[in-house]
């Protein structure tokens, strides 16, 4: 299926959208006028160098008409022509009309296929299908789609749609999954904001059109028409855009694909825009907090603590423990009638608030304790990345910024359940946050260290007569490693926590059956999470070669895959967070066996991480210690080879073999 839907957009998401769109077929209000087809378009053929395989978008022409914007009327026309080169390319003929807004109306659809012979097959109105994808008592969502007739493995297809929308077209995904030979966008702008009273108040100097082109190898050509002085239209063109390549462990597609953002702003520069926003953040906080006497009362209990850091930490955990976090509802909470609270006073009185409000309360608690904390806003990097040059609100996470001794900030968030003090959620590490009221608007949120998120496992195993392994596991997790499990257990409900943990252990210790799971500190964010369990293999381990038993102890753990085996890489690598894993396996064997050979110790280290393996034997035991550390989850392209080497070294540990031989042989 090919569609113009913004990447990742799910029609069947549970967000309820009201629409007044009727399930009727669109009408044509323009006569059909197709561009002529040049001979060169027929000459487009598979070409490895140009990455043309199944087809290419010959051109895509977009017209975004905002001239009636002040009446909430925007018109979008998309005209796309595709060269189909094989069976796979035919799927571009199945088109779903993009869905931008509940009140959009489809004003025209034309489509056809053209053969080399000149024969054409045009889309009939009857062939346009309306799918009512969602309907309830109050709303419905209709999606239009069509399949272009007459498509062969060597043809050209083209279609044009026109939409009327109450919102502006703001994002052009230029890069497709096949090459784009020419892209054009005409933006018919609206400069008459003063016609609209609300816009006139908000933007007394008028609205200016802005654009940002991202992730393109060559610049987008821009013409200001008819002239710079009398600007009515911005005309963008670009040629030869390669296909977007999806790769494992990448930033979200929206942050990587070639694109063009379009928007209006009353500000004259990003600095002015963000400065204004940053300046407003303290006022928003004050508005929420109100008079603040209730905050003063709460912080009195921490006065006796010796240092600001100690008070900040105590206040953090007090807030996490004392207020019900409405953004994380357990079963018991769901069954109650618990409305959101509207102010800090109400939240403290009723002992509940959502995650953002908990952060606001915490910020004010710190300020009341004379710690110059500030509210900060960030964006979940698994969704998108902040575009600082773009003068519009982009954030979806709140944080509290606490000044550190080096003139920077430490970012914390008691509103994120089970997040320990001193940490930010991992999905905001490595990006910039907008800090309210500070001298520097954007501050980097550093990655945590690998030592912050550890998994330490100790396996004590006995080799049985049947060559099975049986024994115990004790595992300790900290940081993000622990929080992930805590959240999963919370979501599953306390009665199911053991099962959740057992399933996690099964994923990690794939050769074993897991039983008798016991967990400590499941809800204590400031303590390591400890798990104990019994392990058994139900089948003999290792390979018998003659009188030797060859055991690969590292393979008893999760398979050490190397996800970075591609020969080339287009995008930088981003994993979740830095981490450390330490595994200690001890295998006791009877006098029936002696140690024949042990693998050599291995150590590999580079700037991205280390991995090491150490094997010893003593008194009827073999002891294996394996360590893996990833220092940074972000790996720029130029360091990709180093990352491959690190993971290759880790993968090679799986082959480490201990050889036991029957005594006396």
């Amino acid at each position: 299926m090919r569609s113009l839907l913004p990447t990742g957009f799910a029609i069947l998401a549970t967000v309820l959208i009201f629409t007044s769109a009727e399930a009727r077929k669109p009408s044509y209000d323009d006569p059909v006028s197709w561009d002529s087809i040049a001979a060169s378009e027929w000459e487009i053929a598979p070409d490895s160098a140009k990455e043309i395989h199944s087809g290419a978008v010959i051109f895509e022409r977009v017209e975004a008409d905002d001239q009636k914007m002040t009446d909430d009327q925007h018109y979008l026309t998309i005209y796309r022509r595709v060269r189909v080169l094989n069976e796979e390319g035919k799927s571009w003929a199945d088109v779903e009309v993009p869905y931008y807004h509940r009140d959009q109306k489809l004003r025209g659809v034309q489509a056809r296929s053209i053969q080399r012979s000149g024969d054409t097959a045009s889309l009939d109105l009857e062939q346009i299908r309306v799918k009512q994808t969602l309907k309830s008592d109050k709303f419905k969502v209709n999606v239009y789609s069509f399949s272009i007739p007459g498509v062969t493995s060597d043809c050209i297809i083209e279609w044009r749609i026109k939409l009327k929308m109450p919102v502006q077209y703001s994002y052009w995904a230029i890069q497709k999954s096949i090459p784009l030979l020419k892209g054009e966008l005409r933006w018919k702008i609206n400069r008459s904001s003063t016609d609209n009273w609300l816009l006139a108040i908000l933007y007394p100097t008028g609205l200016q059109p802005y654009y940002i082109a991202q992730n393109l190898d060559k610049p987008v050509n821009v013409q200001r028409l008819p002239s710079l002085k009398d600007l009515k239209e911005l005309y963008f063109t670009i040629t030869d855009v390669p296909p977007f390549k999806d790769e494992v462990y990448s930033l979200p597609q929206k942050a990587l694909e070639g694109n063009l953002h379009l928007y209006y702003s009353g500000s004259t520069s990003p600095a002015a825009f963000w400065g204004s926003i940053a300046g407003g953040i303290p006022r928003w906080l004050e508005a929420y907090i109100g008079p603040g006497k209730h905050i003063k009362k709460v912080v009195e209990q921490f006065d006796s603590l010796p240092t600001p850091d100690a008070r900040a930490e105590a206040a953090y955990y007090w807030l996490q423990d004392s207020l019900l976090n409405l953004s994380y509802r357990s079963d018991a909470d769901t069954s109650k009638e618990l409305k959101d609270t509207e102010s800090a006073a109400e939240a403290l009185k009723k002992r509940r608030a959502d995650d953002d409000d908990i952060n606001r309360i915490y910020c004010d608690m710190l300020r009341t304790m004379n710690i110059d904390a500030k509210m900060a806003y960030a964006l979940d990097r698994t969704e998108n990345l902040l575009v600082e040059e773009a003068m519009y609100w982009q954030f979806d996470q709140t944080l509290v910024a606490i000044p550190d001794s080096l003139g920077g900030f430490k970012f914390v968030s008691p509103g994120h359940k089970f997040l320990p003090f001193g940490s930010a959620p991992w999905y905001v590490e490595g990006i910039s946050a907008l800090v309210g009221g500070g001298t520097t608007m954007f501050q980097a949120i550093p990655f945590s260290t690998s030592g912050n998120s550890k998994t330490i496992s100790v396996l004590n195993l006995d080799l049985t007569e049947e060559m099975n392994l049986t024994g115990t596991l004790s595992e300790t997790r900290t940081g993000h490693r622990a929080r992930g499990i805590r959240i999963d257990c919370f979501d599953a409900g306390s009665a199911d926590a053991s099962r959740v943990i057992r399933d996690k252990l099964r994923d990690r210790y794939t050769h074993f059956e897991i039983d008798s799971v016991v967990c400590e500190n499941l809800e204590a964010a400031n303590k390591p999470l400890k798990v104990a369990a019994k392990l058994t293999t139900s089948q003999p381990v290792g390979d018998l070669v003659g009188q030797r038993l060859l055991i690969r102890p590292v393979e008893l753990l999760e398979k050490s895959e190397n996800p970075f085996t591609a020969e080339t890489r287009v995008h930088p690598v981003i994993m979740s967070y830095p981490f450390e894993t330490t595994d200690a396996i001890q295998i006791a064997f009877s006098s029936e066996w002696t140690v024949d050979a042990l693998p050599a110790d291995t150590v590999f280290a580079n700037r991205l991480g280390t991995c090491g393996l150490h094997v010893t034997t003593f008194d009827g035991h073999v002891a294996i210690q394996r360590v893996f550390k990833l220092y940074s989850p972000f790996v720029p392209l130029e360091q990709f080879t180093e990352l491959q080497k690190l993971y290759s070294a880790r993968q090679a540990q799986s082959a480490a073999t201990v050889s036991l031989v029957r005594a006396g042989s």
């Binding site: 299908r129 969602l134 309907k135 007459g150 498509v151």
Partner: protein
């Protein structure tokens, strides 16, 4: 609700069960006009938070199938209760893909505050106003989660008959009296997900029925026999499969270069399969009535029955007879139920007498017919998609041969043979020249896949296959091709650090073409049947050359066998090294849970083969 919630379900508690059906009672009444009306009462108890989203009302709706009179109740663990607001019902289109257009919806009703321990119940009516509604119906008694009580009743007009099948539902009791049939089951335990199971579509417990008047009927949608069903299918396909001048002219021009009937037939098959893209338009009667062949030809798209109608029209225009055939891809059809509505796919049957060459086709030859699926590009003419083997089909002929079973594919008909000449260097690196030849179904699938991806991706997909076993593997000098019913590939692979060392020991994995398998059957008990997959056979040989002065310890021959699969690994000495021969075959059959011990023993040995190693010695 009271009865349902008071049932003792302690025996059904299972640590992995997410919810339990306390009670499901469905009573269906079929009218003389064929319409059906059902009254349904269902109650669930939520056992885990993952079960919350399943304690809902979900019913398919169509133009001719409506849900009415929905009531619901929710009792919280605290004892507090609430009733369902029907205004919150939501209708959702289950399939939003651009190449699929259908008018079915799912009606979904749910309570907002359901928690673990909640009891949720719904009661509603379903009205089906098509005159074939009573023809094929079913009640899903159980899929995976436990069921305390389920009862399905069917009331027929006094002069009607019922055929029924208990699919994977041997424990269901059947009572009948005065035109009312009642199917009841209770205390159905939780069924875990286990490795190497048949698909849940096969394991789900169903009561399936077909009903029809005992005497003569004017309704074409009553099917007392398979001949009646076949006749009906043929009647639907008759007009759409008639060639008009547009189709006839097209065939004449397009396939003029093919001078023989066999050549034209194959070219037509290829055209319909590859040049008519698959787009499903299941709207109204379009669900089972094909579009006219000329419309499909003009559109260059259609679903399975549209493609069949077009192909038949084209064949008719060159004097080749054919028949539409109904098949089933989702779960096996039941020959005890003479209704065409249990099928969900359409293919073509051509008499094998149309040309001498037809008689030589092996895989797709069933009885006097050669079958062809025009929707599956990986199954060219002469082969069938693997999932059709072993299934029942309905050929639209007016005689008793209409019901036809496609035999199971023999494993020897879908084979891969490989040969590798490998050299191990003293530094532990390897270089090998590999040749792989596929025959039969595997060949068709492989050939299709290769054509679908770029040459660079073909090489990369081979490389990816070895990255887990050969660190830093490189693939060079890649070539591939097709010949007859086979497809081949040859390439050179090389990699460092293939040899493992442990102290002074040098350990070599015998066959790098085999991917190491993790233990699959870890548990000592088994609830579900065992199925290793579709039939196939692999035979391979790796000949190793070792560095001068190196020898290998010969490992004992490894054998593994169970009723549906077997495997062997044999290591023999050879000049300058050794040879490792590997053979694996599975016949696609299903083993019962009672055969688990044998299946487990097989897997244990098979997994050993995939990781088999030898120890090398340096003189």
């Amino acid at each position: 609700m009271k009865v349902a919630s008071s049932r003792d379900i302690s025996a059904l508690a299972h640590t992995d069960a997410e919810w339990i059906t306390l009670s499901r009672v469905e009573t269906m009444r079929v009218g003389a006009n064929g319409h059906a009306s059902s009254h349904i009462q269902v109650a669930y108890k939520v056992l885990k938070s993952s079960g919350i989203t399943s304690a809902v009302l979900v019913e398919d709706t169509y133009v001719w199938r409506k849900v009415k009179g929905v009531h619901g109740w929710h009792i919280l663990p605290t004892g507090k209760s609430e009733t369902f607001d029907a205004a919150t019902l939501v209708s959702v289109a289950p399939n939003a893909a651009a190449d699929s257009h259908d008018d079915s919806h799912m009606l979904v009703g749910a309570f907002e505050k359901v928690v673990v321990g909640s009891i949720v119940a719904f009661e509603y009516d379903v009205e089906e106003t098509s005159d074939w509604a009573g023809t094929f119906q079913g009640c899903l008694m159980q899929r995976q989660q436990p069921v305390a009580w389920v009862q399905y009743s069917v009331e027929l007009p006094s002069d009607w008959q019922l055929q029924f099948v208990l699919k994977s539902a041997e424990m269901v009791t059947v009572d009948s009296a005065g035109g009312k049939y009642t199917f009841t089951a209770m205390n159905l335990p939780f069924r875990p997900d286990e490795p190497y199971m048949p698909p849940w579509a096969e394991l789900s417990r169903w009561v399936l029925i077909n009903s029809f008047p005992s005497g003569p009927t004017s309704k074409v949608t009553h099917f007392p026999s398979w001949r009646d069903a076949a006749f009906w299918v043929d009647s639907l396909h008759f007009l759409p499969s008639e060639p008009n001048s547009e189709v006839t002219q097209f065939v004449k021009e397009r396939f003029a270069a093919d001078s023989t009937i066999d050549g034209k037939l194959r070219s037509i098959a290829s055209f319909v399969q590859n040049d008519i893209r698959y787009v499903a338009i299941e709207i109204g009667k379009g669900r089972f009535v094909p579009r006219h062949s000329s419309a499909t030809l003009r559109n260059r798209y259609g679903d399975c029955k549209d493609k069949v109608a077009l192909m038949r029209a084209m064949l008719t225009s060159i004097g080749v007879p054919s028949r539409a055939v109904l098949a089933k891809v989702s779960m096996r059809a039941h020959t005890e139920l003479s209704t065409p509505f249990q099928f969900d796919h359409c293919i073509v049957a051509i008499p094998d007498s149309v040309s001498p060459e037809m008689a030589t086709i092996a895989e797709a030859h069933v009885g006097d017919w050669v079958l062809f699926d025009p929707t599956e590009p990986s199954a060219p003419f002469g082969t069938l998609p693997i999932h059709l083997y072993g299934t029942a089909t309905l050929v639209a002929v007016d005689d008793d041969s209409c019901l036809m079973q496609i035999p199971m594919l023999q494993s020897g008909r879908s084979t891969r043979r490989y040969k590798a000449d490998a050299a191990l260097a003293a530094d532990g690196s390897i270089t090998a020249r590999v040749q792989v030849v596929d025959h039969g179904n595997i060949a068709a699938y492989t050939a299709h896949r290769r054509k679908s991806i770029s040459p660079a991706d073909r090489v990369d997909s081979v490389r990816q296959r070895f990255t887990g076993t050969i660190p830093g593997v490189k693939i060079t000098d890649y070539q591939s091709g097709e010949g007859g019913d086979s497809t081949w590939a040859a390439y050179t692979l090389s990699g460092d650090n293939y040899l493992q060392t442990s102290g002074d020991l040098k350990i070599l994995k015998l066959d790098f073409m085999q991917t190491p398998e993790k233990p699959a059957f870890k548990k000592t008990e088994r609830a579900n049947p065992i199925w290793f997959g579709y039939p196939w056979e692999v035979e391979g040989e790796v000949t190793w050359r070792l560095p001068e002065g190196w020898t290998a310890e010969l490992v004992d021959t490894l054998n593994a066998e169970c009723r549906t699969a077997r495997a062997t690994l044999i290591m023999t000495a050879s000049d300058g090294g050794f040879r490792c021969a590997n053979f694996e075959a599975q016949d696609g059959g299903v083993m019962e849970a009672s055969e688990y011990a044998a299946a487990r023993a097989f897997r244990k040995e098979y997994e050993r083969m995939t990781t088999a190693k030898t120890v090398l010695h340096v003189k």
